[in-house]
């Protein structure tokens, strides 16, 4: 066991930067949202009963604390719309993540096995669409998928179909849009994991009688697990809360929590409920993430 080394002042300052960043731009806003989520909805501007301020003095704080309520959270569970959209968001994000994994893995493998000098070029090409606006890329999918879009027109011209396929404004279109938009988040960690693998490991496996398929299953895949998990999390988490893609490519039936949140905030002006939904989403996503992180740490401890 190596003793814990004391950090120098410089190292502490350097470490403080990301923590301060997270505190200022994640924790503080999150606390504000949490605060709104336990207040009561009113028709006012802002549309919630103000909560305690520290300038109020102890008795006033106590009085206002009495007025706090978990009504918004109850509303989340009593209104099936929220539960359904959480489930549907998780399902759409999960399916999209799985499809992206299936698309990205061979892609990453091919790049990792390409001649070394070509790899940066291929990675650059894979990330190139990111140089244009996210919004424009999603709009472009409308042009492809709509009834008089490129794909339908091409298929009709070729005589494959006689009437346009309904692709635009379906859950499928949302999934396609999410897979397309988030693919690099899946691709890059998997590529990094595969590129790191020592090629002599594969040779050793082949030398010991493993066929290419066995080498992949016993060696390449398990050794790239970290990249697969990282890529899946990087994609799944933002995909669950995705708002733009379902709004542009989905129909009104495609329930995703991001859209519900947007409606609650901006159309219904029900800030407390929207805040509660946002807090619930964070909890929903944090719990599996923390569990995974703990399992990983435990495994690493075990390895020592």
């Amino acid at each position: 066991m190596s003793g814990r080394r004391r950090l120098s002042l410089g190292e502490r300052l350097l470490l403080a930067i990301p923590y301060l960043w997270i505190a200022a731009f994640f924790l503080a806003p999150m606390l504000l949202v949490a605060k709104i989520s336990v207040s009561q909805s009113v028709l006012a501007r802002p549309p919630y009963r103000p909560i305690f301020e520290f300038s109020d003095g102890p008795s006033a704080i106590w009085d206002k604390m009495q007025a706090l309520t978990l009504d918004s959270y109850r509303a989340l569970f009593s209104d099936t719309l929220y539960v359904e959209s959480y489930l549907s968001s998780l399902a759409i994000a999960a399916v999209s993540t799985l499809i992206a994994l299936i698309v990205a893995y061979p892609f990453a493998l091919a790049i990792a096995r390409a001649p070394e000098r070509l790899r940066p070029l291929f990675i650059g090409l894979a990330v190139a669409p990111f140089w244009t606006s996210f919004l424009i890329r999603v709009y472009a999918w409308i042009a492809l998928l709509k009834d008089e879009g490129l794909i339908n027109n091409a298929l009709m011209a070729l005589g494959v179909i006689s009437a346009p396929l309904q692709m635009y404004a379906t859950p499928g279109a949302v999934i396609v849009g999410i897979v397309y938009s988030y693919l690099p988040f899946m691709l890059l960690p998997i590529y990094a994991a595969l590129e790191r693998q020592d090629p002599s490991l594969r040779e050793a496996a082949a030398d010991l009688g493993a066929s290419p398929a066995q080498t992949f299953l016993r060696l390449t895949w398990p050794l790239s697990r970290e990249g697969v998990v990282a890529g899946s999390l990087l994609m799944f988490i933002p995909a669950v809360g995705e708002f733009v893609v379902p709004d542009l490519l989905g129909d009104s039936e495609t329930l995703m929590i991001g859209r519900i949140l947007w409606n609650d905030f901006f159309s219904n002006h029900d800030w407390p409920t929207a805040s509660a939904a946002a807090v619930a989403l964070v909890v929903l996503l944090m719990v599996p993430l923390l569990l995974w992180e703990r399992a990983r740490l435990k495994e690493e401890e075990g390895a020592r």
Partner: protein
Amino acid sequence: MNSPLLSIENVSKKFGAVVALENVSLHVGAGEFFALLGPSGCGKTTLMRCIAGFESPDSGTIALNGVDLSGVPPFRRPVNMMFQSYALFPHFDVFENIAFGLRRKGETKDAIDARVNELLAMIQLSNYGRRRIEELSGGQKQRVALARALAPRPKMLLLDEPLGALDRKLREETQFQLKEIQRLTQTSFVIVTHDQDEALALADRIAVMRAGRVEQVAGPMEIYDRPATRFVAGFVGETNFIEGRLERNLARNPGAALITEFGRIPCDPGDIAEGAQATLSVRPERIGVAREGEGIVGIVENFVFRGETTLLRVRVAENVVLRAAAGHGERHAIGEAVRLSFPSNAGALHAEEPLG
């Protein structure tokens, strides 16, 4: 050696414009410990990778037990390799690393357990089966890599610089272990090394390679005492290169001598013609050093104590300094005059022009 286990016939291989192997022919017998020795870039590793199946020769054949291996992928070759980096699988423990090849052969669980435990005992790591690779020291990793390659009972084991990553002391100990394991398993070992000491210490026969060609194939003693080319003489061990003109004189004994600017050195002429320019390669320890008597006169310029011997640098002519090893206990001082004597079989004579 009866019919060879491995026959390499006229194998050539180019990488782009770089010639890695040029018309290489070699034979390795069953149970033989064979070394491919040469400086980096001489093609020894390429040759080994051709045997393992990771590279395919541009021309020529490699056959094992008379069966041509061309087109046979590495995982179907009854040859295993121990990698220079060891290439141990980091996500498996020691046991599973060694069992990997046996599992691919579909052996029963009992047979695998027995074989792995036998190998763990052989490499003296009996209680290490459940250790993770990253917990092992360099020497332990080296032994696990050896056991893993031996586990499927290959007809031939290829070892790529097997001792290269070990420190000096461990290396010597491991040389003995390696030799012992080779003797016990009766497997043909083909070792690739750039370290002449390692090749001399381990191998039954050595192929010295240079620039894609085999310069000499012979036992360690012959390589050392009778290097076939000037390159082999210079690469394997320490040597003196003495330039001169050959004089064949059958009336005297010995029958030939090299005439140099500092004197006449008796030698075995081989097939070199009378009067030809030649280079004699003589190991320092083959030169006799005495204070008086016959021999070539020189002045001790410097000396290095080496334990068993003391290496002297002796100036015998204005531009010629020879290295000679004096026996233990003999003391020489700088500036002292000594006499150097050359037994007629002391060196090997090469007709080729000096390098560079």
